[in-house]
């Protein structure tokens, strides 16, 4: 065999063919996902786009126009009564800041075929708690999470619903106007 050039030739051809097949398979896998909902590295672009869109939305909503006017995102937290809502449905009370912000989510994400959950995570005296504001169900495996931290102060909580005050405790033990920090966490995935 060692001296048989033809046998070597056949072997080499076989190896070359196998390598060609492997390369073709790798290229195909890199080129496109197998199904729209398959979690794989090939979804990085999609996930990245989702993440950027979500982060940009939270950044825009957290814009504070003046020292006396909280951002729209903060107003949504302050106006929230503590209930969980379907992300595509109206948030009660209608017309309140939470409802206005929920409509922004719907316009920017829902209309583009992106599902989302919006939750708040905050410290409590005994640890931490998380509650959903908008809930669209369990996210798919390739969902991405973006977040924004909101610091709450005493005077802002003065006008908040009692149910919200009961849920989010005052973490200030020093009698200052610091109240608590809330992480607004948004989970996004392609429908």
């Amino acid at each position: 065999m060692i001296r048989n050039d033809r046998a070597q030739l056949y072997t080499m051809e076989a190896i070359a063919s196998a390598m060609l097949l492997i390369v073709v398979v790798i290229f195909v896998l890199k080129a496109a996902p197998l199904t729209p909902n398959t979690a794989s590295a090939s979804h990085m672009h999609v996930e990245k786009e989702l993440e950027m869109r979500g982060q940009d939305l939270l950044t825009v909503l957290d814009y504070t126009p003046s020292d006396t006017e909280p951002s729209q995102l903060k107003q949504a937290i302050l106006g929230w009564t503590g209930g969980q809502f379907d992300g595509q449905a109206a948030v009660r009370p209608l017309g309140g800041p939470t409802n206005v912000t929920a409509n922004r989510f719907k316009e920017v994400l829902g209309a583009a075929g992106i599902a989302y959950n919006v939750e708040v995570y905050y410290s409590t005296l005994s640890g931490a708690e998380s509650r959903a504001i908008l809930w669209n169900g369990r996210p798919s495996d390739n969902a991405v999470i973006v977040s924004r931290k909101i610091v709450l102060h005493d005077e802002e909580m003065e006008g908040a619903a009692q149910s919200l005050i009961d849920s989010i405790p005052n973490m200030d033990s020093n009698s200052t106007k610091f109240y608590n920090i809330v992480v607004v966490r948004m989970t996004l995935w392609r429908m």
């Binding site: 995570y121 410290s123 610091v151 003065e158 006008g159 200030d172 020093n174 200052t176 610091f178």
Partner: protein, 563 residues
């Protein structure tokens, strides 16, 4: 070519070259993919960068907040301001640590040092011309009640104003107590019905003269307090002697009392009335035993107003004669420069007309505030026996929309605020906020906002509306044009005008209305605050170090925030 086909060695070499090419291509592709993946934002350090960016941004914002809140203490005690700042940052640090620890990261905020900057300046005029301050009154501080703890006798209540004027006045020949000016506080309260939870304040007091009758008392209507630490020498006795002479009851705290919404009068306002001789205005100040000066047209036109803080004008027609033009121009300029103008009766709408006609408006609205006169049309409109004043309900000052009453008692034309929070002009001595009907005069013209919104001073605050005896608002078509639109009939309104303040009060003679005179004297505080020097201590040049570690990235940065 035919040789190669038959030459198996040649084929072998070609195949080997071909395989090497495939291997190189494959290797390059895989390597490229790895490099691409490694540089994606979601890979490696990008997540840490985002967290660090968030951490730094909100820390910077909270350092500025802490400095601002510390400054708002209005304390002249540097230690107090500094302690508040550090306590705030400690609470923030404790909470942010918890938030990040849930993500497996540790963070820390360290305030390395900061400097405290002390400045003294005139009080910046705000919308309400007063500055709310919190204050703890120590045991032994004096309390001068302004409700049934004092009396419901109006003349005695008015004498309290003369007393506090003397206490604050440290130099005036008529007001000197002992040559020392002693600040007097009033605690601001919403003088409306008992559904307002902080309407009255409970203090543990006893009679200051006899030191007897200790008990917890509820005080409403904005009592006056004098901090015992300011009562040096024999000033306490001088105040009690003076109050005894005036038959004014003074209590004394037997335990400390803390209040958030107080205002402090440290300078006695100088009061002028116009015209120079007016029996109604003179009676107010005579009842209160408060010094005043009458000014003529000539004196006002010659600039004498600049020597005074308050100008009160009763039922004078300011729109005529035309020779009054220069008086109006001088008054308008004085108000714009910070004067406090209080006008009553026929002076109200004629003042707006005159300012609009002669002084030219510095603002697009009509006159100082933008009101219409309300009239008694023949057999159609009768304000007769319906001229009670109901002081307007308010919302809390901390609400983000605090300058607006969200549910005004009647629909209001124009853009004016239906209420103002804890304004000294809305203190009354009764719990309902209802001031009675005129006792010796049956008809009072009220006024209404001009229906065209652009003609109304948008910062105006409606302080009192006209009601009937049961408190039902008078809501009728009574303006001078009888335009078929029903309007809320207003009795008391104020509006800032440039740096000054204008208040209009309906009614000919407030001595005829139970509690009415008080609405004139509370202008003291608005005028006094404007002349107050305010010392502000602010945290500056704050040196901060932040630390972040999440197992992959360790980040430390030190920066300076100049709040």
């Amino acid at each position: 070519m035919a040789d190669v086909i038959r030459d198996e060695k040649g084929q072998l070499m070609l195949l080997t070259v071909f395989m090497i090419i495939i291997e190189v291509v494959s290797f390059t592709t895989i390597l490229n993919s790895m490099i691409f993946s490694a540089n994606l934002q979601s890979t490696g350090l990008e997540e840490s960068k985002q967290e660090i960016r968030d951490f730094r941004l909100i820390t910077e914002a909270e350092v500025i907040k802490a400095a601002k809140y510390a400054t708002l203490l209005n304390s002249t005690n540097q230690t107090q301001v500094s302690e508040y700042f550090y306590k705030y940052m400690q609470s923030y640090n404790d909470t942010i640590k918890k938030i990040y620890s849930a993500r497996g990261a540790s963070v820390e905020v360290i305030i390395n040092n900061m400097s405290l900057n002390e400045t003294t300046s005139n009080l910046t005029v705000n919308k309400y011309h007063v500055e709310w301050k919190n204050h703890t009154f120590p045991e032994g501080s004096l309390v001068i009640p302004m409700d049934e703890n004092q009396t419901t006798n109006q003349s005695r209540l008015m004498r309290v104003y003369g007393l506090i004027y003397k206490i604050v006045d440290g130099s005036g020949p008529s007001g000197k107590l002992n040559g020392t000016s002693i600040p007097v506080w009033t605690i601001l309260q919403n003088p409306v019905n008992s559904s307002v939870t902080n309407f009255s304040s409970t203090m543990n007091t006893r009679n200051a003269s006899t030191l007897l009758n200790s008990s917890y008392r509820n005080y409403s209507g904005g009592p006056f307090l004098i901090d015992v630490s300011k009562l040096v020498g024999g000033n306490r006795d001088l105040i009690l002697n003076e109050s005894n002479n005036k038959s004014i009851i003074v209590h004394e705290l037997i335990e400390p009392f803390y209040y958030e919404q107080g205002i402090e009068m440290v300078v006695q306002p100088k009061i002028a009335i116009f015209p120079e001789s007016d029996s109604v205005m003179e009676k107010y100040y005579a009842d209160g035993e408060v010094p005043y000066t009458g000014l003529s047209d000539n004196q006002i036109q010659n600039g004498n107003l600049t020597n005074y803080d308050i100008l009160t004008i009763p039922h004078e027609d300011m729109d005529t004669p035309s020779s009054r033009k220069n008086t109006i121009i001088a008054i308008e300029a004085w108000v714009a420069n910070g004067g406090v103008l209080h006008v009553q009766c026929a002076g109200t709408h004629t003042m707006d007309n005159a300012v609009e006609k002669w002084a030219g408006s510095r603002k697009p609205w009509y006159g100082f505030i933008g009101i219409n006169r309300s009239v008694n049309a023949s057999n159609k409109i009768h304000l007769k026996n319906m001229t009670y004043i109901k002081l307007i309900d308010n919302v809390t000052r901390f609400n983000t929309s605090y300058s607006f009453n969200m549910s005004p008692p009647v629909s209001l034309a124009g853009l004016a605020d239906p209420g103002t929070p804890y304004n000294p002009l809305t203190q009354s001595h009764n719990k309902s906020g209802m001031l009675g009907n005129m006792t010796r005069q049956s008809t009072t013209p009220a006024f209404s906002l001009r229906r065209n919104e652009s003609q109304v001073n948008p910062a105006a605050n409606i302080l009192g509306i006209a009601t009937n005896a049961t408190g039902t608002p008078v809501y009728i078509d009574a303006d001078i044009t009888l335009d078929t639109f029903k309007d809320a009939q207003l009795m008391y309104i104020e509006a800032p005008y440039e740096n000054g303040l204008v208040s209009y009060l309906a009614g000919h003679d407030q001595t005829m209305r139970e509690g009415g005179e008080r609405l004139i004297f509370d202008n003291f505080f608005a005028a006094s605050m404007r002349r107050s020097l305010v010392t502000t201590i602010a945290a500056k040049n704050i040196n901060v170090t932040i630390k972040y570690y999440d197992g992959k990235v360790r980040y430390t940065d030190t920066f300076i925030i100049n709040s």
